[in-house]
Assembly symmetry: C3
Homo-oligomer: 392 residues x 3
């Protein structure tokens, strides 16, 4: 088969940011299970609108407790379905009462007479709930088995688990690139406290190595012989990292974070925090800490961060994401990458783009994409100093 | 004369929504008197800006009490005229003092010298006040006689009359279509109170007949031999319906409602309520009821209705319009109708579109349009159960 | 050299409003020093974003106290620089620590290794602080000497000086045109108090003469033999006028005002008030007056002015600019001038446009533009009645 001509660089850079249903990236991302909501955000018998990769959808939870994801609009007059009502495990449109199963199959069109509903179908996507998140498979064909590269960290006994979702008003890819860019830690995560550290920090740039694995990209950031940080990023958009706990003696936190396009100018930052239980007192303090600080979304404090330059209080649940937000939103919502100037320290970003371009080209050419798999031998994630706690 | 080629369906559907001065629909709508404001909204000596069918206008009331509708901007430097001042029955621009009569004729251009004003004219449209509404004729040529298909209902002695105007942020045509769609009543107007009624309602779909009349379309909705509802919709955008009063013993209410494009993405829902007087106590209660609930505009409560799903209290003045709002706004502001899927119960909508396409084609071809006339023998509007009270 | 074909009038009118870096007007305006900020708005060690003629910039003040104006974004990943931190007289990006001098030269790229910074440069523009304003030269080549046509009025001993900046959401050129239009004074500045004056005012139209000078345009407005107002407007966007003081016995105020495009739909109204000192009591009252009323920006009161038609209290610092705001914003943000109808009283505007078109054509043709110079013999600015106090 003849290979398609590579498009010019500006077009190739733009393609990384385009995630709609008909885009190459959109088709690639739809081959993977993606988290789209936090489980507790939708109660049995309720429905709500959702936008994922430029597609408007209806998320509802049947009276049985099972969650479903169907098209955003009724096939009939294009009214949004979430304003209708859930009956059993189906959803009925409020305009003329057309009813749909979770598969998208119309099961009733009251004024149209018997037999008509069977010919009507809207989109309906497989849903899988895991660890307090609702995952969906928006691709064509049969959904792949649900898996995660380091899932045992979320499945151990005795974990305290929190799920969180934020929407950031920028393209998903600059959030992905930030995960493969360990240099930013030395600067971004000092931004709010610069004064005394300002001069010192430039000495602490890590040596960085990036290598493609069965699951994605492994990043090794060496700051000294006793400070080596290994991060296993999973294709196409999942980061699993370990960060310090609430206090010096608190257990470390496993964090699985996905960056899922809402549309090309907005991104879900959605994920799980899993913390080993360590006694009722410490556990209660952990829960209180998350209740107090965990709902902070920097996007709600945009002007404070960009113009007033005031920073939030809690280092791990507020300040770190706020700093990342400023670095990422500071590039604009959809960035003209043809204007940027990468350096040798951007090796991770360069590898990341190459892999995405390779996979998108396969899709365009009708060739099989890589069969990504969970890591057989995941490295232990090292403990490291609080100062270099990576952003998620 | 050769008939113009019918445009493809997507274009034809789009044409129903385009109401600007140069559009086919815009030229058609401008052949009719249209209500554009509520009389009490403009006091003698005052002026305000108004947008009608995509055209910016200045509405002012002369010191004599008479209302005028002229262009939005001064001919000179294009400053909006409503910021100027009314002098006698003319309006003067605040920038350089050019003065205009209600016909749009410039009567004074102070710094330009004698004789210059006579050569300057802006748009000026005939105005007719009726039943607390300000109607205007925005077409070319001489305005037709002002008439209404069922005007006697608004002109009887002893009526209590209320006029109301709202702006809904959607295209006018989906509001028109809702008037010719009796099925929606069985679902939309249960939306806020679903629970117990959910299953029962699907049995109550009416048998529907639609027929073109001299004035527009007559809709006959038969729910049972004792529940027949006849609605006479008047071309191009006026509905006259009768709905239950405040209490079981209150007199029924005649409502004349027009859906007039502000522009293609906004619509005036403007009309009159006329209620027979029935004694001082009942009349006072009626006035209090309208004062308390009558200013409710669902567009001011968009998120409450769509996201919080909380509904307003009063059934006729708040809940019913709120339910219609959700059904109509739920389709989006300007809907891509090529994506919808009409059924046999949409016969009214199909007839409606056919009539509009026929009239628009006549305009495009330079042939005369239909001469619509008031109904010689209007059917009595039947009393019906409160549950099926139609939306306006 | 062959002259370029004049573009049709609509295009020529549009060109007056287009100020981006590649536009003819943009290139012309960039040949002059332009005020872009008020000095006290930026403290040593701080940075803030700024938009000038469609270009995003970073204004920062080094620890030395000197102000610098560099590009808005880091060359590396395009993050906005103002979120970084000022170190000495340089600014460091918060994302990966690239550091820039005030010339735009990169002086450090920490993770890229020695020698890399020298090859990186972003925009950096000369800055000159004067009278509480920060001026910048955004043109190519060496900046011209900094000069003002009537600078001695701002440099006398014993002046009280205030600097002010507002952003109005409209194109710069309609603000310029208002300066060359003395007729507006008779109407615009009565708008808020019309009643009794309404009829009288039309008699007070001045005789107007406009002539091109070495510095710009001189406007002579003759209202009577004892009421002659001379205004020297300096090319391309500076007005120097004298207006009445706070009370009848207060000294008159020299005002230098520039209208500088933020972008094509927003304009800085930026300038200096200079008031001769006249004893401690009067001086204190002057300061109090400016503190109380001087921060009023009509753009913050748009709906009050356009819809509620309520006017602010203080005549010179609030009402006069509010009236001008209504006249200028009332034309829209970017006006389609092909729809307007100029008269003989618009001679100033017509001369103004001719001069700009001539200069823009020279730029397009690669010919030298006029060498504007300060006025050798500036006329004394006459005292005039408070009623006709011109807008700035």
């Amino acid at each position: 088969m003849q290979r398609s001509q590579p498009s010019p660089m500006t077009e190739r850079l733009r393609a990384l940011a385009a995630t709609g249903p008909d885009s190459d990236m959109g088709r690639l991302l739809r081959m993977f299970w993606q988290p789209v909501a936090v489980s507790h955000s939708i109660k049995p018998g309720n429905a709500k609108p959702l936008r994922v990769m430029g597609e408007d959808l209806t998320l509802y939870r049947g009276e049985s407790g099972r969650a479903y994801l169907v098209a955003g609009r009724c096939a009939h007059r294009r009214t949004v379905l979430h304003t209708g009502w859930v009956q059993g495990d189906e959803i009925r449109c409020m305009y003329h009462g057309w009813k749909y199963a979770g598969t998208g199959q119309c099961t009733e069109a009251p004024a149209e007479g018997a037999g008509s509903a069977g010919r009507i179908k809207i989109a309906g996507y497989p849903v899988h709930e895991y660890c307090g998140l609702i995952f969906a498979y928006l691709g064509s064909g049969v959904a792949p088995a649900f898996d995660l590269p380091r899932k045992e960290a979320f499945e151990k006994a005795g974990l305290i688990v929190f799920s969180r979702l934020q929407i950031w008003p920028c393209n998903w890819f600059q959030m992905i690139e930030n995960s493969l860019d360990a240099v930013h830690v030395s600067f971004v995560h000092l931004a709010g406290k610069v004064g005394p550290f300002g001069e010192a920090v430039t000495a602490a740039i890590p040596k960085l190595d990036y290598v493609e694995t069965d699951a994605g990209i492994r990043q090794v950031a060496t700051r000294s012989s006793t400070n080596v940080r290994i991060s296993d990023w999973a294709f196409p958009n999942n980061n699993h990292i370990v960060t310090p706990g609430r206090t010096k003696t608190s257990p470390w936190i496993h964090r699985g974070v996905w960056n899922v396009p809402v549309d090309d100018a907005h991104t879900y930052k959605i994920g799980v925090y899993a913390i080993p239980s360590s006694g009722p007192e410490e556990d209660r303090a952990t829960v209180e800490h998350f209740e107090k600080y965990g709902d902070y979304n920097p996007a709600d404090h945009h002007d404070e961060l960009f113009l007033d330059k005031t920073w939030p209080e809690d280092p791990s649940l507020q300040l770190t994401p706020a700093q990342d937000y400023v670095a990422m939103m500071g590039q604009g919502d959809i960035v003209d990458r043809s204007q940027e100037r990468l350096g040798k320290s951007d090796a991770g970003i360069i590898l990341l783009r190459k892999i995405f371009w390779r996979e998108m080209e396969a899709i365009r050419d009708g060739r099989p994409t890589k069969q990504w798999a969970r890591l057989e031998h995941a490295e232990d994630l090292p403990i490291q100093s609080k100062l270099s706690a990576a952003s998620i």
